[in-house]
Amino acid sequence: MSLRVENLTVYYQTLKGDVRALERATFSIADGEIMGLAGESGCGKTTLGHSLVRLAPPMRFVEGRVTLDGEELPIWDTERMNDFRFKKISIIPQYAMNAMNPTRKIGRMAAELLRSRRVDFRAKLPELRSRLDLVNLSHDVLNMYPIELSGGMKQRMVMVLSTLLNPSLLIADEITSALDVSSQKAVAEMLVAFRDQGCCKSVMVITHDISILYQIADTILIMYAGQLAEKAATATIIHSPRHPYTRLLISSLPKVGVKQSERRLTGIPGSPPLLLDPPIGCRFRERCPVAFDRCTEVPPFTEIDRDHFVACWKAFEEHARA
């Protein structure tokens, strides 16, 4: 088991109080698994992804335990986590377009970064070059400044940089949202190729675009309002979801494979609760068509079938009946 997250709770500190962006998340990602993490914006998916890499203020660690390859990650300790970042756990950030220092040549930046992590750049150079080939980038980019690259090229360059040390877990944060449809597909396929070539063991793909996940993800984890709703194999999530939120989400997709925009997800009546003072119990309760009195208790995230987890009292009932 590559990544195991238990009871992870992370709040955002604001002047008005704690925003409960992520509460008691428990799940795992297997070796070689590409897990999609989806949900509306503000559902906590980015908080989850970032807290695994760099949990810095205004984020606040409340409780939880994260192990990667059997080793516990000290995610609450920004300094100690440095040993794991890049080498064991890495990220392709949402802001890939601006992720590289504008006043350094890309090759020099990579060299300085690697050297600062006590990795021999020259020994890594052949590997770096072959990865550039993998994403169709000319070796010349190492002698260029980021400003000389197009958006798609920067995106791919950052993919190469982030995975250079073969991390066990790669977090890809909205990597397709800034691209046009054709590049989206290419980038998504490159991600799969990276996994297949062993550039990274497991991948967590954070996105609001479920159609992309349908193409590349092995499993999908759905989040709602800071809580995990459902996790299962991609086909299961698409064809036989159990959580009413997942069902609404999937049924609101016009057709799988068509680009899905964030706005569509709000096609579900109502809006997500404010996480500053969230309602007790299941947070989807107020928008849920099948809610009943039991829902004032928080449903545990439970495995109802093999590798199929869901957090919904109704789903438990249905499952028990079946």
Partner: protein, 330 residues
């Protein structure tokens, strides 16, 4: 890169041309008979007055059309002829100015460079230490808000009058004549210190604050977060942030030169320090238009040259200008 310099060169020549033209207008566009007014204010005896009147009427060339006066002015300019001072008759303006210029260099160059380096250094340090931030930043705001002459007045009152450890006026002891000796150099340094410190302090505050704020912006920039996410040590993140934050500070230096020169002007007035600023004040008070003209010409050239030097420095540190990807100021 050549495009960048080509454009710069065009701006500089246009600026020079325009500034010199305005400068040319100073004595000529004064109301009334400027020569008469000027001479009657100057402290001249009757004999000198007549000579001067003849000289200046000829210099203005009232019989010559204006465009020719203008061309003559440029011609004289390239021959280093700035006319004769009225107030210090019969010394040529260029000579009077050349006597003042060394003091300006002595005052401005260290004040500008040291305040820039020290300000950037402390600003960068303040951005990383809460303790320093709580001391350097408020101090910086106070200093940068202080009018140059008031800081000068305060310093000279405290250190020259109350404590009596520094001289109050001049560039060296009135009892001495310039010569090379330890005593004289010591006297020069002693007289130089207070004006230097007052210029230095005001600018120091500005640079420190600018740097602190720029660094904080840069540390919040995406590329900094990316480095942190990849576990880069703080040293590298700061190094990059510093390098990128220094760029606007270099531009700021060129934007600020005019202000610094004006600041030096009033500082010299406060300390009766015999640089060009002090000279301008005397020239204004004695309505010595040719001297004023000459002084401004020197300031224009000084500022333009300094700007050019800064531009070259900028090209060296910012690759984007070399690539011709961004215009200046972007």
């Amino acid at each position: 890169m050549s495009r960048y310099f080509g454009r710069k060169l065009l701006v500089y020549s246009l600026t020079f041309f325009l500034a010199v033209t305005i400068d040319w207008m100073i004595p000529r566009f004064m109301p009334g008979d400027p020569v008469q007014t000027m001479l009657s204010r100057g402290m001249l005896h009757a004999e000198g007055l007549e000579v001067m009147y003849g000289y200046y009427t000829k210099a203005f060339g009232l019989d010559v059309p204006v465009w020719k006066q203008y061309l003559n002015f440029w011609n004289a300019l390239f021959h280093g002829d700035f006319g004769t001072s009225v107030y210090l008759f019969p010394q040529p303006v260029i000579k009077v100015i050349m006597r003042a210029v060394p003091y300006d260099i002595l005052l401005l160059l260290p004040a500008i460079l040291l305040s820039w380096f020290a300000g950037n250094k402390f600003g960068a340090l303040a951005a990383r230490s809460r303790w320093l931030d709580n001391t350097v930043s408020p101090l910086g705001y106070i200093l940068t808000a202080t009018p140059y002459m008031w800081l000068g007045i305060l310093l000279s009152w405290v250190f020259a009058i109350v404590l009596d450890i520094f001289p109050i006026a001049g560039a060296y002891s009135f009892a001495m004549t310039p010569h090379l000796s330890w005593a004289f150099v010591g006297s020069v340094l002693k007289h130089w210190f207070l004006p230097f410190v007052s210029l230095f302090l005001v600018k120091f505050g500005g640079w420190a604050i600018g740097m602190r704020n720029m660094i904080i912006y840069e540390l919040e920039a995406d590329y900094s977060h990316y480095l942190e996410a990849l576990g880069a040590p703080r040293r590298l993140v700061r190094k990059y942030a510093f390098r990128n934050a220094i760029l606007p500070q270099i531009t700021g230096l060129s934007l600020d030169l005019g202000v610094i020169v004006a600041g030096a002007l009033v500082t010299e007035v406060v300390f009766s320090y015999p640089g060009i600023g002090y000279l301008i004040l005397q020239a204004i008070q004695n309505q010595d238009y040719f001297l004023i003209q000459g002084c401004f010409l020197f300031i224009i050239m000084g500022v333009l040259l300094a700007n050019f030097a800064i531009d070259i420095a900028y090209v060296i540190v910012d690759p984007r200008t070399r690539l011709g990807m961004v215009g200046e100021g972007a």
